[in-house]
Symmetry: C2
Subunit: 235 residues, 2 copies
C-alpha cells in the first residue's frame, strides 16, 4: 500500500495517509524514549521487531473476538491499520507490581497483585501523561461514559487473553498500556501497538526483563530481549 502524506509523527511511529481514506500506514521507527521523552536512544531493528510482535498479538486478539485497528503488515516496518481518532486516554493494566505503581504505593517490584489494577492516564505529553480517573474523563469530556465502560470491559478481556498468550510462551505479563481509537463511523477499536515498548514482560522462570525497562534502566542486551520476545510471540 502506497504511503501518501505524513499525518503524524510520534515517538516510535509515523502515521501516513493512503489512497484509502479509511486506512493509514503505521511506520515503526527504531527510536526509543523514556521518562516522558527525557531519555532518548535507538534500539536497533526495534521498528521491524515491534511491527512483527504487534501484528502477531493483534492477529491473536482478533481471533479471540477483540476488535483492533490491525489490517495487515505488508512490509517489515509498515502496518496498515484502520484510521481512527485516538481517545486521549492511556489504559494501563497491571498484574504484578512494577515501575510507577511500585513507586506510587511504596512497594517492591514483582509482587503478584491479588486483583488486576486498571489505571487511566490523560494522554498529554506536555502534562507528562498524568493519572486520572473516570470522573476526570467525564468532567473533561475525554470520551463518553459508554465508550469508557466499553474500554474498561475490553481492557480486562485483553488482559486475560494476553496473560494466557504470554504464559504459554514462558513470559509473565507484568503490566501493559493500551490505547483505543474511534473510526469515522464511530466504531471503537483497540489501536496503537502492543510491543515490549509498552508492556512489561518478564521471563517466567528467571524473572529476566524482556522489555523497554532494559533501555530505561540501562540493563544492556536490549535488542536481544526484543528478539527473544519476537521469537516467542511468533513461535
Amino acid at each position: 500500500m502506497k504511503k501518501l502524506e505524513k499525518l503524524y509523527e510520534g515517538k516510535a511511529k509515523i502515521i501516513y495517509a493512503t489512497e484509502d481514506p479509511e486506512l493509514v500506514v503505521q511506520y515503526f521507527k527504531d527510536d526509543a524514549t523514556a521518562f516522558n521523552g527525557e531519555k532518548k536512544g535507538i534500539i536497533r531493528n526495534k521498528g521491524e521487531m515491534n511491527n512483527a510482535i504487534s501484528s502477531a498479538i493483534f492477529r491473536f486478539l482478533e481471533d479471540k473476538g477483540i476488535k483492533t485497528h490491525f489490517v495487515s503488515a505488508p512490509s517489515e516496518r509498515e502496518m496498515v491499520v484502520r484510521k481512527v481518532d485516538i481517545v486521549p486516554i492511556e489504559v494501563v493494566m497491571r498484574n504484578v507490581t512494577a515501575g510507577s505503581l511500585s513507586k506510587r504505593m511504596g512497594v517492591e517490584e514483582g509482587m503478584l497483585l491479588p486483583k488486576t489494577v486498571f489505571e487511566l492516564y490523560y494522554k498529554d505529553d506536555s502534562l507528562g501523561d498524568p493519572m486520572i480517573n473516570g470522573y476526570h474523563v467525564a468532567a473533561f469530556g475525554l470520551c463518553s461514559a459508554e465508550d469508557l465502560a466499553e474500554i474498561k470491559k475490553r481492557a480486562f478481556r485483553v488482559n486475560e487473553l494476553m496473560q494466557e498468550f504470554f504464559s504459554a510462551r514462558g513470559i509473565t505479563l507484568v503490566d501493559f498500556k493500551l490505547e483505543f481509537g474511534k473510526t469515522a463511523d464511530g466504531t471503537l477499536l483497540l489501536a496503537d501497538e502492543i510491543t515490549p515498548d509498552g508492556c512489561r514482560l518478564w521471563n517466567s522462570e528467571t524473572g529476566e526483563k524482556m522489555d523497554k525497562d532494559r533501555f530505561r534502566r540501562d540493563l544492556g542486551s536490549v535488542e536481544e530481549a526484543y528478539e527473544e520476545v519476537l521469537r516467542k510471540v511468533t513461535s
Copy 2:
C-alpha cells in the same frame, strides 16, 4: 472531658485518649503546613477557628443524616469525637477547577466543572499522598469494596449538602477533602475535620480566596479569611 495520653499527633491536630474507650479528644493546633509539609507556619487562632467551623459543619451534616464522628466541642480547641480507625484514603470532591487539578489537567483555575470530580488519594505522607483509584484500593486492601461504595455515596451527598450550606452564605465550595473512619463495632463515620485547611472556599461575589491557599500562596490576610468563614458558618 479529661484528656488522657496522647494517641497521635498530626500536622494540625493532636488526638488524646479519654476515660471512655469509645471517645477521643481532637485538639486543634495553630500549625499550618503545605506542600506535604515542606512549608510550615502558624495561623494565629486557627485551632479555635477550625474547631468552631468544623463543629458547625459536622452539626449541620448530622442534622441532614450524615453520620460523623462528632460528639461535642467542650472547649475552644477541643472536639470530642468517636474513636475510629481512619481509612487510609483521602477523598477529594471538586466542583470548580483549582490547585492540583488545574495543574494535572493543564487548565485555568476557576472553571465550573460540568460534573463533580471524585478523587482518591492514598493517605501516606512518606509517599506524598499519591492519587489512586478504586482498583488500587482493592488490590492493596485499603478498605472493603462495600466501604468504598459507601464512602463514594456519602462523599457525593456531603458535597451536595455543603454546596447548599456555603452557597447560602455567599461562599463557593470549590473543592474539599474528606476522611472516613471506622469505629470498633465497624460503623463507618465521616471523620477528621472540615475546615478552610482542607476546603477551597471562594467569596461567591468577589472570588476572593477564604482558605489555606492564602497561606500556601502567601496571599496575606490568612487569619482574617478564616475569621470571615467562621463568622459566615456560625451565622
